[in-house]
Point group: C2
């Protein structure tokens, strides 16, 4: 087959993939390895790389190659690849290079300062840098929205979730707001009478790490193509050929790190199992951040907090952390499904989590679309935390609006991906439950293979071949249906 334009495009995008590789490894290093004095030079190097990658996607010859490739005799995979290339090219052409660099530098500066400002509860200090980040994010939003019939916020959200619309998210989150507070109240009432044993620490970090590594092995992580390290803010980074996940340990609490590792392992397996023959091309990438979070939450929520899984790993907790009554499977199930609204999103229980997301979505949407300014965030935060979770956050910036890395790092529009991910995950497992009614029995016995086969065949190996809606339709027989999450929560937390 003679496809000159298409082949020229794959060459450009392969080069782009290699630049991404450099950024992914250097970015991981910045979070997991870099000493503090390296930050200014690192920020400059990464901004330079951002500009280079932007230049690669805005090369003047690209639109013509894309137009010519569309007339070549492409097969289905090639056509899907071209669709993704066109999206990348169009998005990049909406952004001027000077904005890319200015935004990268401002975010790098703000995020770096935030690491010290957060523990000091220093909102005014943060605000000074953050105003700059918001300015560039709005400018980016305006650029990306132009001629596309999108609001600025929608345009940012589409970087992570191609095709997502605010009206749709509003409807989904609006529905959640109708039933979540009532469900939370009912579950808290039901759990009030439960007796459960707290696990007694301290839990030595080396032992938590050994436990984490064994769990990753059970969950299929390939250690010859990835690593587990430490960082203040856990994440999954690196490249599909070399996936880097991180965690943090607390000697008084093994549960957070354990669930954190299970969560990141979900991201990691998606990356490690993207199809090898197209991993360097846009069609071989993970579909979207919502689908990515659906993998981490399949692992953390659907598998990790499942009583059958906790039955499987109870002996490992005893082995690594020492035997204690709290590590009996039934008690573990109670511990890992304990509902207790708190300040911190990443430590939230499964049921409060959507409330954290909805709060952030509402604030960042108003901020990007100019309805509020950065200085209004704390008051809105206080109001919504009280309204959604009954918590008083006044004056407590560090456990409030300063808690997440997303905003200081300039990532607006990402948060909805978490709850979309939880919804997709619940939908997958409803489908799996039908196809494999005994999957929990097998899980408790240590056989997760059928489960992973389902995810591998229907999600991981599909990469970006389909748009999100079609991917989910093909995997589960229907497009996104948020009722599966509601049903899952009611079933798990009320037992009905």
């Amino acid at each position: 087959m003679n496809l000159p334009a298409y082949c020229a495009l794959t060459e450009r995008f392969t080069r782009f993939y290699r630049y991404q590789h450099l950024g992914a490894i250097v970015g991981w290093d910045q979070a997991a390895m870099m000493p503090p004095k390296g930050n200014t030079a690192r920020g400059a190097a990464l901004a330079e790389l951002d500009v280079l990658m932007h230049q690669t996607l805005t090369d003047p010859s690209l639109p013509d190659l894309i137009a010519r490739a569309a007339d070549e005799a492409l097969d289905a995979a090639q056509a899907a690849n071209l669709r993704e290339m066109r999206r990348d090219s169009e998005m990049a052409n909406l952004l001027p290079a000077r904005l890319i660099e200015a935004k990268s530098l401002a975010s790098s500066r703000c995020e770096h300062a935030w690491r010290a400002q957060r523990p000091e509860n220093d909102w005014p200090g943060f605000l000074a840098n953050f105003t700059e980040v918001v300015k560039f994010a709005r400018e980016e939003a305006q650029c990306l929205a132009q001629h596309r019939g999108l609001s600025g916020y929608e345009a940012l959200m589409n970087k992570f979730e191609p095709g997502a619309r605010s009206a749709e998210i509003d409807a989904i989150f609006g529905d959640v707001k109708t039933w979540l507070p009532g469900l939370l109240a009912k579950v808290r009432e039901k759990q009030a009478g439960d007796t459960l044993l707290a696990a007694k620490g301290p839990f030595a970090i080396e032992q938590q790490r050994a436990l984490g590594l064994e769990l990753m092995t059970i969950l299929g992580f390939d250690f010859s193509a990835g690593r587990l390290d430490l960082s203040t803010h856990p994440f999954c980074g690196g490249v599909p050929e070399d996936v880097r996940i991180t965690t943090r340990y607390n000697e008084d609490d093994f549960m957070r790190s354990l669930m954190g590792i299970v969560h990141e392992t979900g991201h990691a397996r998606y990356e490690q199992n993207l199809p090898r023959n197209s991993v360097h091309l846009p069609v071989g990438r993970a579909r979207s951040m919502g689908i990515h979070e659906s993998q981490s939450l399949s692992f953390e929520m659907q598998i990790g907090r499942n009583p059958a899984f906790l039955e499987l790993i109870a002996p490992l907790l005893k082995k690594h952390l020492g035997a204690q009554a709290a590590f009996e499977a039934k008690n573990l199930a109670a511990l890992f499904t304990r509902v207790l609204p708190g300040f911190i999103r990443v430590d939230a229980d499964e049921l409060s989590y959507p409330a954290h997301i909805i709060l952030r979505y509402e604030i960042e949407r108003a901020l990007i679309d100019g309805e509020i300014e950065a200085q209004h965030i704390p008051a809105l935060w206080d109001e919504k935390m009280m309204s959604y979770l009954g918590l008083d956050t006044r004056g407590n910036y560090k456990d409030g609006c300063l808690q997440d890395i997303h905003w200081p790092g300039g990532s607006f529009g990402y948060f909805p991906s978490y709850t979309l991910g939880a919804m997709y995950a619940a939908q997958y497992f409803a489908s799996i439950r039908q196809a494999q009614p005994d999957f929990e029995t097998r899980m408790a016995a240590g056989d997760l293979s059928a489960l992973f086969d389902w995810l591998n065949t229907r999600i991981w190996q599909q990469a970006s071949h389909w748009e999100t809606g079609e991917l989910v339709q093909r995997a589960t027989g229907e497009t996104l249906n948020p009722q599966h999450l509601r049903r899952h929560l009611v079933q798990r937390y009320l037992g009905v």
Copy 2:
């Protein structure tokens, strides 16, 4: 001052510096962190970066900017910067981009395979990849030598040691060959009667690491701008703002790792103390690899094996590794100056070391200039090891010609830097001894500041302001004088 061409050049070279930053961190990661399956993608990403950096230096507008900047009113530092920029640009323009990429990929492949082939003593397997590496290195040598009146090997040597000539190295090494064998024999005869206590292991790795970190602190390493990690082949990498040194540990032998750390700390301090205001420009770089090795060898040989320094650190050895008679200062001095020719260069004593270098220099020079082929290396190696050090290496490739990372990695012309470095270091300390006759007394008392001030003022802060000869002349009052090394060795090992 209005310097449009000069300013345009500093912009280009600042960008080049940032690309170097990406390569340095990703290269460190490849050696210290990367899991094995990451290698192919990593090799491709680094080759892409090599091509990009080459493009940056061969941009068609550069020669004209350099010519125009030469007519601008530059001060001395700017003129030195321009001289270095011109050298970079001229060197880069001699090499075609396709060769850069082909050489990078071939070296990456050869080095990666070598990691497994060396322990298996697999010379034929190695030769298959290595022939390719030699082919590209010769091509590079030919390209770099053209119109410059250099031999191919000289052209490669000039990448590491600008201005070095084979005739000069031949003369220096030829002189060493006249006195080294006799000195070796005398010292071995003298030491044959010594009684010395070997230190008894095992030495736990965690304790060796703690000792290493404390030594680095004493030697002035800035941990807020650098790290110590593990790699199979110790090196100093990273960037001046964030220096990464590595070591390896052997539970039976604490001495190698300890001296390895002292050696790499010498490299690290040079990098960490390059002048901050020009660190992103060619004039702000380390002068040459010979000068770099003069820092590592000032630390390892002039300081590290000095009885006064061993007196200072003897209590630390007892503290970290447990008290034993072998850790008395006098015995340590005997241990660290024990002369015993062996197969491995990096483990060689100070006196045998130059023989290892001369052997490699003679072989790689003949190889690059086409006098021998790759398959002739083992026989030559055997012959020279027998002749220079009296050792039989026949059939033992893994401790013979397969031992170094330089050749599989395509670095020909580097080896002379080690012995030039040892000579410069001996020359510095002859000068320091005159200016600070009590420096050893102060060293034994823990005061190394005057010593570091000398190096900082005369070498580190000078960066690439002067050509090598002038740098050394200004620092010590004379250009390279190899007799200082001879005098140092005779004084230290024969006490005369």
